[in-house]
């Protein structure tokens, strides 16, 4: 309860997903004050939303290395 301010917003799916799992684990372990439970619950909901947002907004990026731009014949077996 000592940490001031909210946890930073996760930027990757992995972070959000793991944080959500941690929230559920904490809730499961019990022994929390009423306020802490409510806070954790709200954080869990926000993290679940974040996971969904990240996937909705994701777009696969493709970066191409190598200087050679010469076209080669297409061979579907390769």
């Amino acid at each position: 309860m000592g940490a001031p301010g909210p946890d930073p917003e996760p930027t990757t799916f992995e972070e959000a997903y793991r944080a959500l799992q941690a929230v559920v684990d904490q809730l499961q372990s019990g022994g929390l004050g009423l306020e802490a439970s409510v806070e954790l619950y709200e954080r869990g909901m926000a993290l679940a939303r974040r996971c969904e947002e990240i996937v909705e907004q994701a777009e696969l990026r493709v970066t191409r290395l190598a200087p050679d731009d010469a076209p080669r014949p297409l061979d579907p077996s390769l």
């Binding site: 997903y17 559920v24 996937v55 994701a58 696969l60 970066t63 080669r72 390769l78």
Partner: protein, 409 residues
């Protein structure tokens, strides 16, 4: 210039000599032996020999080395298979059997003969390509390149995925399609390379190097590399049995997933890779989780969090109920205790009251409104008021009797 040529010049003509170094001269045995050794050692063919012959004159030393000759109808070549090589040789020499040995020739001065130092023996009848593959495999295996213990785990959520594949083939296209569907949060870093034919091995090595050097804006590199190629003939896949390719995969900083050919084709690249995918499309599924499945997990976790939080609330509510009951019970208990105490005190007080004492027949004497406790406080003739349970009697002191001990003073 060989070492021997140099020493001739230096000794016979001096350092500044310019005359013909092949001028005849009497040689020491050691000099000629050294010359022969360098001659044999410098010959490419003699240093990479595949030799077929029948094993004869076989002798195994106590140290575990094999000494034998490989002969045909024309002649024989002395051969040695040292213990270390014998341990990873495909077959061991047995007298009278035909084998193919791979090794290098050396001139051995103590025997005054050239001999083959074999590093591996194969049974007669194997194709050369197969034997070459086998020899390389056994050598790299002995070096530990294929050890299970060095295989690295793949990160469960890769952010940057390096790919070495053909620019024009279906492989890169398939990888992109599958990852777009399953795991669109990644970045593919594609280093195109030809994957068969002359120069392909060098290009793959270079592409692996590029990917390992590549850095994103945040300074991080690729989390893993997929080396992929579609199916093909054994010749087509030979690039992935190339020693340089195998070593480049071994040396990669990022873990490497191989996906070469069909499931039945196992190349050395597959054996050295941290993970082997049976096909390129299988690789796309092995390197990243399916986010659509994980979103179902997210929904489940959300439900679990909700249920747990509600449970906690219910617990708290129940706790409050229990507390107030306890509190009420506690208060009434305290009241009862207090009431009992008050009753006790009342009795005690009653016992202490003088009225009760007077009732029992005692009297209180007063002089001038003060209770008389000491006979010494009055003199004969003084007036006393004696209070009784009912009424009082005013009387005059006739005589005073002090307690006996007072007479002592």
């Amino acid at each position: 210039m060989t070492h021997l040529e140099f020493s001739w010049r230096a000794e016979v003509y001096g350092a500044e000599a310019t005359a013909d170094p092949r001028q005849p001269r009497v040689l020491e045995v050691a000099e000629l032996a050294q010359y022969l050794d360098e001659l044999v050692g410098g010959d490419g063919l003699l240093q990479d020999v595949w030799l077929r012959g029948e094993v004869s004159n076989l002798f195994r030393s106590a140290a575990g080395h094999y000494y034998f000759s490989l002969k045909d109808e024309v002649g024989q070549i002395k051969s040695i298979l040292f213990r270390g090589s014998a341990q990873r040789s495909a077959v061991l020499p047995t007298a009278g059997t035909a084998v193919v040995a791979h090794g290098r020739m050396r001139f051995y001065p103590p025997q005054g003969a050239c001999e083959l130092v074999a590093d591996m023996l194969f049974p007669e009848g194997m194709g050369l390509a197969q034997m070459q593959f086998e020899a390389l495999y056994r050598r790299l295996q002995a070096e530990g390149l294929f050890d299970e213990g060095r295989k690295r785990l793949l990160p469960p959520f890769p952010r940057r995925i390096g790919v070495v594949a053909s620019e024009t083939g279906a492989v890169i296209h398939d990888l992109i399609t599958v990852l777009e569907r399953r795991y669109p949060v990644a970045e593919i870093v594609f280093a195109p390379s030809s994957v068969q034919g002359a120069g392909a091995a060098e290009q793959i090595v270079e592409a692996l190097g590029l990917l390992n050097l590549w850095r994103a804006e945040d300074g991080d590199g690729v989390d893993l590399v997929v080396v992929a190629r579609g199916g093909g003939s054994a010749d087509d896949l030979a690039t992935f049995n190339d020693e340089a390719v195998v070593r480049a995969i071994f040396g990669s900083r990022a873990p490497v997933v191989s996906a070469v050919g069909h499931e039945v084709d196992v190349t050395l690249a597959d054996l050295v890779a941290d993970l082997r995918a049976p096909t390129p499309s299988a690789a796309a599924e092995l390197i990243a989780p399916d986010l659509r499945v994980l979103l179902q997990d997210v929904a489940a976790l959300r439900g679990q969090a909700r249920r747990l939080a509600h449970e906690q609330l219910a617990w708290k509510r129940a706790e409050v109920g229990t507390l107030s009951t306890t509190l009420a019970r506690d208060v009434s208990h305290r009241l009862a205790v207090a009431r009992e105490q008050v009753a006790g005190w009342t009795l005690q007080l009653a016992a202490l009251s003088p009225a009760a004492t007077l009732k029992r027949g005692y009297a209180v004497a007063e002089v001038g409104g003060r209770v008389l406790r000491d006979a010494a406080d009055v003199r004969p003739g003084d007036t006393l008021r004696v209070r009784l349970d009912r009424g009082a009697v005013d009387s005059v002191v006739a005589a005073v009797t002090l307690p006996e001990e007072d007479w002592a003073f």
